[in-house]
């Protein structure tokens, strides 16, 4: 397993080209092209702002300006959720490669996660514009912004671990894809994206802290949105360590199932 993991480094050139290809190919033929990477989260933002700003105006003072708060959570959540959805089908749809080309299969889910990360990065300029023009909002200090890449790294490891497990299992159980979209809906509401974690009731708060994505999203929010020090840092680092082990576990499962892929997809 570790041998295979090390061999993966050899394939970084391939991973890089495939990510570029994925990003390029996704919006090929559409009029707006890669602007969809902006527009998609923007539209989602509009919907939630409308619902929670006008339809159900349940103002939480700590989460104002609400659209900005929302955006800090939705952008990374979209990365996470679409990575999982896409990677669950990636081995099946890439079956031709697995069957006909000598090819390390884990490249496919990894590329999926990375390509979605690129879309996440494309969305950041919009976030930047929001931060600049939001009324009465502070500009996050540089000392906190420096932690931003660390949060991304933790999310990357965590997402990749999930992607590896899901992609491998979906080869054997195609229904994971359908179950997954439902799970992700529940998961979305169980993650403090549309409401602040700090204002949740004590019991709920504790319950939510078992959700790894809570700590990722709260970290983004603390860095970009909330004033004051990055208090969630220690949670994030613990999650980072757990994610690393989880990644190894995910890779182990993937590696164990590897030889069955060529026959099953």
């Amino acid at each position: 397993m570790l041998h295979n993991l090390a061999a993966l480094v050899k394939y970084r050139g391939l991973i890089q080209s495939l990510v570029v290809r994925d990003v390029k190919a996704r919006y090929r033929g559409s009029v707006l092209g890669f602007f969809w990477s902006f527009i998609n989260p923007l539209l989602l933002l509009l919907v939630y702002s409308f619902v929670f700003g006008y339809v159900l105006p349940n103002k939480v003072p700590s989460a104002e300006p609400y659209p900005l708060f929302l955006f800090c959570g939705i952008l990374p959540w979209t990365w996470f959720a679409s990575s999982l959805i896409e990677s669950s089908g990636v081995l099946v749809s890439g079956g031709n490669l697995i069957k006909k080309v000598l090819f390390p299969a884990e490249v496919l889910p990894i590329v999926t996660v990375l390509a979605n990360m690129v879309h996440f990065l494309f969305g950041l300029p919009i976030l930047l514009i929001f931060l600049l023009f939001a009324k009465g909002h502070h500009w996050p200090p540089l000392s906190e912004l420096a932690w931003f890449p660390v949060v991304m790294l933790v999310q990357l490891i965590l997402t990749t671990a999930f992607a590896l497990i899901l992609s491998a299992l979906t080869v054997h159980f195609r229904d994971i894809r359908d179950i997954l979209s439902n799970i992700l809906t529940v998961w979305f509401f169980a993650t403090p994206v549309i409401y602040p974690w700090f204002d949740a009731p004590q019991g709920t708060k504790q319950f939510l802290s078992f959700n790894p994505m809570t700590h990722v999203i709260v970290s983004y929010q603390e860095i970009l949105f909330f004033e004051g020090p990055f208090g969630h840092l220690k949670w994030l680092l613990v999650l980072g360590v757990i994610s690393l082990f989880f990644f190894l576990f995910g890779y182990f499962i993937f590696d164990r199932l590897r030889d069955t892929f060529a026959e099953e997809v």
């Binding site: 050139g13 391939l14 080209s17 495939l18 290809r21 390029k24 190919a25 090929r28 033929g29 031709n96 490669l97 697995i98 069957k99 006909k100 080309v101 000598l102 090819f103 054997h172 159980f173 195609r174 229904d175 994971i176 179950i179 030889d259 060529a262 026959e263």
Partner: protein, 456 residues
């Protein structure tokens, strides 16, 4: 000499899931607690069984065998795409496998980008591809289209590009699975030239193909797979010869079975009622009319006042068979029976090709033979000194009827035989022929002498 490929007692067993497993989902697997059982199916299919062979570096091996004999699985095992169930596979050097050309091309992006990504997948670095890019494009003959998205390519263009990339990977071991049919004649020759160049440079090639001529011409060794097992190995000409003989035997068996079926259905028709036996478009009074001669519907009809009880095709050694070689003698032997003496009858034979075209037809009346009498059991032989037909499947008509066409027993296309030939000439009839040239003109043989020898 070091071995480039070493296979030791390699077996590959595919799981064959029962119908239940195919519809099984996670839910049902959990509910019936059959998860573990389903993942350990008892029903298995051995695709490759206990194959051992070594291929020294620089040699070219041709793998032949019928469909489903495990050739492609063997290739995938060597390529490392699937792992052997038991045994070990060792390959020394960089492998490039031409299994499916252009696998991994993304339809939406340009040929240029696909060349890079495909090249990287096959193990090249970006710099190596940049260096060879022009060569690849030129080889694929796609200069004008390289920047168009691959989805706009024709299938031939797609395959050519895939082939060009794969062949420029510069592997130490090249694995080729029946991919030479990817272009026009010119492109095929270019591919063969490229293989030849590989050979000269001391690379190892493993070729899975149905093109036996190619194996004989091009390979140093041949491996014959049959039912997942190694059936023969060694000198290509010898192995290919053994394989052809074996294929003929099984074709013989299939044709015999088909004949038996045809007779079975023909015999089911009532023999004494010509009207009901005749097919609607075969009115008996025109059974011998020229228009009917060319209509290719099989069947049997006639009054059976004289009956053809058995038809056999005899080869040069006098044994009955269904597979014959072009240029060799063939005899049609008819067993007849006439319960009462008859004086007005004609025997006829017709040979039709697979398209239903009459290749040859004659009868005793045409050949100015007048029947005198037949009573009881009789035998007639129609000797063909040289069966000068090109390769293909042919059907036989035999008939006995009155001078005026009234059918006693008409067997329409009920007997099938196959003509084999080592030369791939075309048409229907092959006249006995040879070439001769003046001094100022010279030819050399492109294939081993066995290729042109009909009787091998």
């Amino acid at each position: 000499m070091a071995n480039a490929i070493e296979l030791t007692n390699v077996s590959k067993v595919y799981r064959r899931y029962s119908r239940k497993r195919q519809f099984a989902t996670l839910k049902s697997a959990l509910l019936s607690r059959s998860l573990v059982r389903d993942l350990n199916p008892e029903d298995t299919f051995p695709a490759v069984q206990d194959v051992t062979f070594n291929l020294p570096t620089g040699r070219t091996l041709g793998v032949i065998g019928r469909n489903g004999s495990g050739k492609s699985t063997l290739l995938k095992l060597v390529a490392g795409i699937t792992k052997p169930t038991t045994g070990s596979v060792k390959v020394n050097g960089r492998i490039s496998a031409l299994i499916e050309l252009g696998a991994g091309f993304h339809p939406e992006i340009s040929g240029r980008e696909n060349v890079f990504i495909n090249g990287i997948m096959l193990g090249l670095t970006k710099r190596e591809i940049t260096r060879r890019f022009d060569e690849i494009v030129e080889f694929a003959e796609l200069k004008d289209f390289i920047d168009a998205p691959v989805k706009t390519y024709s299938s031939g263009m797609y395959m050519r590009l895939g082939f060009a990339v794969a062949i420029h990977v510069d592997p130490d071991v090249l694995l080729v699975d029946e991919v030479l049919a990817v272009g026009d004649e010119g492109f095929t020759h270019k591919c063969l030239d490229k293989f030849g160049e590989f050979k000269r440079r001391g690379k190892t090639i493993l070729l899975v193909t149905h093109s036996l001529g190619l194996v004989e011409r091009f390979c140093d060794e041949a491996l014959w797979m049959d039912g997942g097992k190694k059936k023969g190995t060694g000198d290509p000409v010898r192995v290919v010869g053994a394989y052809i003989t074996n294929v003929e035997k099984s074709e013989e068996a299939t044709l015999a079975a088909a004949d038996a079926r045809a007779h079975g259905s023909a015999a089911a028709m009532s023999p004494d009622d010509p009207a009901s036996a005749a097919l609607p478009d075969h009115p008996i009074e025109t059974a011998n009319a020229p228009t009917d001669m060319f209509r290719a519907t099989e069947g049997r009809w006639g009054s059976r006042e004289i009956e053809i009880t058995e038809v056999q095709l005899l080869g040069p050694d006098g044994t009955a068979g269904h597979v014959f070689h072009s240029g060799e003698p063939m005899t049609v032997r008819l067993q007849l029976r006439a319960p009462v003496a008859m004086e007005d009858f004609v025997l006829g034979v017709g040979i039709f090709n697979a398209e239903g075209l009459c290749c040859y037809g004659t009868n005793t009346s045409i050949e100015e033979l007048k029947a005198v009498r037949i009573i009881g059991d009789a035998e007639a032989k129609f000797d063909i000194a040289r069966l000068d037909l090109v390769e293909g499947t042919y059907k036989l008509d035999v008939a006995v009827h009155k001078q005026d066409g009234y059918p006693f027993d008409y067997h329409r296309l009920l007997y099938t035989f196959r003509v084999k030939s080592r030369t791939k000439d075309v048409g229907i009839y092959r006249p006995e022929h040879s070439w001769s040239f003046s001094e100022s003109m010279k030819f050399s043989r492109t294939s081993s002498p066995g290729d042109l020898d009909d009787s091998h």
